[in-house]
């Protein structure tokens, strides 16, 4: 395929407080082998040479694992490819002449910091509320003392694969953080190591999710559809059960 010329409509916002707006840019010579972020690099190189401010967007690993990249591409968090983070999206999925709209995650609990970059520290505070086992370095028993059925370990691993990107929140009509929170609660609920603090964990993490201003889950399943790690909404069902148990039976 010959190189493409694309029109990008990008959300520009100076800082947290300033209002933002869309600005259009043309990018030429986009190769089909480029990743989406490499295409964005080409744009930024152009802007730097023209003495304009670069478009800020978060990214780091560019391998779909750190959870840093976060763009809404043509209305869909991480773009149209199923099970793929923005950084793993390739330009071969686009056509010459396309107009691509690029926005930041939009959610009250994820305020925009600049352009396409948002503040996701609310996720860290949810983990802080209970996404751990209370074990100090040096205090652990021999690892073979704990047996975990393979199927439980696998399902826990499915949940633990969450990269904390926040696409689930960005896709949800209620801006709910349920999929993210459920993935962590579920991982521990499935493992023997998570049992001791099971109720406290569910109660506190769910409370923190509310306190951060995320919405409720009303089963739209948009989160699962955009999740780059294909985390299943069955984990949300498990979280709801865990939460219910925590509320009904005190520790």
């Amino acid at each position: 395929m010959a190189d493409m010329t694309l029109t990008l409509k990008i959300w520009r916002q100076k800082d947290r407080k300033s209002p933002g707006k869309f600005v259009s840019y043309t990018v030429e010579n986009v190769s089909e082998h480029m990743s989406f972020l490499e295409m964005m690099d080409v744009l930024n190189e152009q802007l730097i040479k023209k003495g304009e401010d670069v478009v800020e967007f978060d990214n780091d690993c560019r391998e779909g694992i750190c959870g840093m990249c976060s763009l809404v591409i043509n209305g869909r968090p991480h773009g149209q490819e199923h099970g793929t983070a923005t950084c793993q999206l390739h330009m071969r999925k686009f056509n010459d002449g396309d107009i691509i709209v690029i926005e930041p995650w939009r959610a009250a609990a994820f305020p925009v910091l600049k352009d396409l970059t948002v503040d996701r520290t609310a996720f860290d505070r949810i983990i802080e509320a209970g996404g751990y086992t209370s074990i100090n370095a040096g205090g652990a028993a021999d690892s073979s003392a704990i047996l975990v059925p393979k199927s439980d370990a696998e399902e826990a691993m499915d949940a633990a694969s969450c990269i904390g990107c926040g696409a689930c929140v960005a896709a949800c009509p209620n801006a709910s953080a349920s999929l993210f929170t459920a993935a962590k609660i579920s991982q521990f609920a499935l493992l023997p190591q998570g049992q001791t603090e099971r109720k406290r964990r569910a109660a506190n993490m769910v409370a923190q999710m509310d306190a951060e201003g995320f919405g409720d889950c009303s089963n739209h399943a948009e989160c699962e559809a955009v999740c780059p790690k294909e985390i299943s909404i069955t984990h949300i069902a498990r979280m709801k059960r865990e939460y219910f148990k925590a509320m009904v039976f005190d520790e």
Binding site: H33, Y132, L147, M157, I163
Partner: protein, 637 residues
């Protein structure tokens, strides 16, 4: 300068226990009176920050990303070693120690490596207790796989996401301490200088990456856990934010930089495809368990791989190294790939790749088994290359991956600057001239969970600390220095972007300080890099806002440092006229073309001291002594 490695006396196996007993302790009630800054939240930083906080120290933990969970460690795929010997295949602490020393081509300290092997088992225990979903067998026990450079299966893993799971484990412990207010977490913040007071490390200067504000943070000790400098090559498997800046600033404040030329070129990466490329992607080495590496026997054979009959394929690793086959250590695998490509037998669109073929394993084990083991890696490959590796062999080629060199530290992980500790990939400590697969995760976590909690106490208990305010002249001098560098960068307003300079530096480094090095090439690099650096300082253009989020400014500062460290890497490579591990000098090879060490001349750690911007650095040598292993020429035949 006399380098004292502080290796304890006594038999190898007893050194660490004896040392722990001899170290001074801070009594529990006094720990809260001490403060420690931990820079970095990767495996080394997160494990150190949480463990120190658990003990009761006040910890400040700083990272570049928006969350500690996103540190580069998250990307590690294959696994972590430990000497548990669960498969009963003959592993032991001694064997892990021995393999690591040998794999490092006898350029690391026996005592450090032995300690690493000793604590390896505790790491797995800790991870399991944290709820890390390691791979299990049907009986519920932990599963193991094998990795390059070892003949036992000692690698623990969580699918192809072991780094992610270990880091999330460390992160969860860290967040528990943040909740207890024992750790103050400062994210989106970059360390740009080290602050010394009376010769001791007492703080750091940072830039708030959201507001641009320059801030100082003071403490009684500083631990640098900022990862490696592989991005000096521009293209590497490292994350985009991985950088040398924190370590380099420490070097310029007097910390010695050890073995800078020891870099690891990983054999199994997705090949380079074009100028626009921003990074290279690793395909985990674990793939070599089930994949067979080959190229066509004929030069310039452009047939599709599946059209090349069996007897026209050269399975060169199996052929040349019958006992290790596809599982030879990384440096050996990489060099052999370069050899066959240089011989005109490379494959793929650029002819700079070799095949990694799973057809036999799929026939033997079934596609499902292969999918279960490596599914996410195969998916990643398909996304990038747009070919199905279950049907067509993968194309791979070596890429810069890891830096064994780093800030010099003694047995306590303290640099020559008192109070400056260095952990994880940022130090030089355990891997010698070549790191074995699955050993970086082990080392980072060993340093953070099980070494520094003991050794830092000894330092704190042995020294007294006055309170330092940010008005102190050392702080003010550091702030001025940091501001000055940024102002200079912004004032140039030249023609080229910093990425363009970075790419040029990368080409010089890959060409002359890459997989095969020689005197003429290294001298050329030592001449060309300063020229490029000079041009950078005259002709770079940087996006202008200092008081806002500005990634271009962040990167320009880091590239300025890469332009300095690149030269030191070349100098070190020139000094070391022997081949060892990942450092291959064309002048020093065996008749069969294997790396030839010169133990009489080079059995030392080179530790470089900064002498000024326009002065040559001074070389100090820490002689390595081997009392427990015999130095042999490595053979994986």
């Amino acid at each position: 300068m006399k380098l004292d490695s502080k290796i304890p006396e006594g038999p190898l196996a007893e050194k660490w226990d004896k040392h722990k007993f001899d170290l001074k302790l801070v009594n529990p009630a006094n720990k809260r009176k001490y403060s420690v800054i931990v820079v970095g939240t990767g495996l080394a930083g997160a494990s150190a920050a949480s463990s120190l906080a658990e003990l009761g120290y006040n910890v400040k933990n700083i990272c570049i990303q928006d969350s500690p969970r996103r540190a580069h460690s998250i990307a590690a795929q294959g696994g972590i070693n430990a000497a548990k010997n669960y498969p009963n295949d003959g592993d032991s602490i001694w064997r892990l120690f021995y393999d690591t020393i040998k794999g490092g081509d006898y350029r690391s300290r026996e005592a450090n490596v032995y300690r690493l092997a000793q604590v390896s088992n505790n790491i797995i225990d800790q991870g399991v207790a944290q709820g890390i979903p390691f791979a299990r067998e049907y009986g519920g026990l932990l599963d193991n796989r094998s990795f390059g450079g070892a003949q036992v299966s000692r690698t623990f893993y969580a699918r192809g996401q072991t780094g992610q799971q270990l880091l999330l484990g460390a992160y969860s412990s860290l967040m528990r301490q943040v909740a207890k207010k024992q750790v103050e977490l400062i994210t989106r913040s970059e360390m740009l200088d080290l602050i010394l007071v009376d010769g001791k490390a007492r703080g750091i200067t940072t830039r708030n990456l959201i507001t641009g504000e320059i801030e100082t943070h003071m403490a009684d000790a500083v631990a640098i856990c900022t990862g490696g400098y592989g991005n000096a090559y521009f293209l590497s498997t490292n994350a985009k934010n991985s950088n040398a800046t924190a370590a380099w600033r420490c070097y310029k404040r007097g910390a010695l930089f050890a073995n800078p030329c020891f870099t690891q070129i990983h054999p199994t990466c997705i090949p380079f495809s074009g100028e626009y490329q921003s990074k290279l992607t690793l395909m985990s080495e674990s793939l070599r368990n089930d994949g067979r590496v080959w190229v066509p026997k004929k030069q310039g054979d452009n047939r599709a791989p599946n059209d090349i009959p069996e007897d026209e394929r050269d399975y060169y690793l199996e052929e040349r190294y019958p006992s290790f086959g596809n599982l030879v250590p990384r440096d050996v695998a990489s060099r052999n790939a370069k050899d066959v490509v240089d011989d005109g037998r490379g494959v793929g669109p650029s002819n700079v790749a070799v095949y990694l073929d799973f057809a036999d394993s799929i026939n033997r084990l079934g596609e499902n088994v292969i999918r279960e083991k490596y599914g996410n890696l195969f998916d990643m490959y398909e996304r990038i290359i747009d070919e199905n590796p279950y049907k067509t062999p993968m194309m791979i080629y070596p890429a810069v991956h890891y830096t064994m060199g780093g800030l010099w530290v003694d047995y306590n992980l303290m640099s020559n600057v008192p109070g400056l500790f260095v952990l994880g990939e940022a130090n030089f400590s355990d891997h010698g001239a070549n790191r074995l697969g699955a050993s970086a995760l082990m080392q980072g976590l060993a340093d953070g969970y099980f070494v520094i909690p003991y050794t830092i106490g000894d330092y704190l208990a042995s020294n007294s600390f006055d309170k330092i305010e940010s008005s102190h002249e050392a702080c003010q001098e550091s702030i001025a220095l940091v501001n000055d560098k940024m102002d200079k960068l912004l004032a140039i307003k030249g023609e080229k972007t910093s990425t363009e300079f970075h790419r040029e530096l990368g080409k010089l480094m890959w060409e002359y300080v890459g997989m095969a090095r020689d005197e003429a090439g290294l001298k050329k690099a030592i001449k060309e890099i300063p020229k490029l650096r000079e041009e950078f300082w005259q002709n770079v253009t940087v996006s202008s806002d200092k008081d806002l989020m500005n990634k271009d400014l962040e990167f320009a500062g880091r590239i300025a440092d890469f332009l300095e460290i690149g030269e030191l890497m070349a100098r070190d490579a020139l000094d070391r006229n022997e081949s060892c591990g990942g450092h291959f000098r064309l002048e020093s090879q065996t008749d069969e073309g294997e790396a030839k060490r010169k133990d009489d001349e080079y059995a030392y750690v080179s530790a470089w001291e900064y002498k000024g911007d326009d002065k040559k650095p001074a070389l100090h040598k820490e002689e390595l002594t081997f009392e427990n292993v015999e130095l042999t020429q490595r053979s994986y035949k």
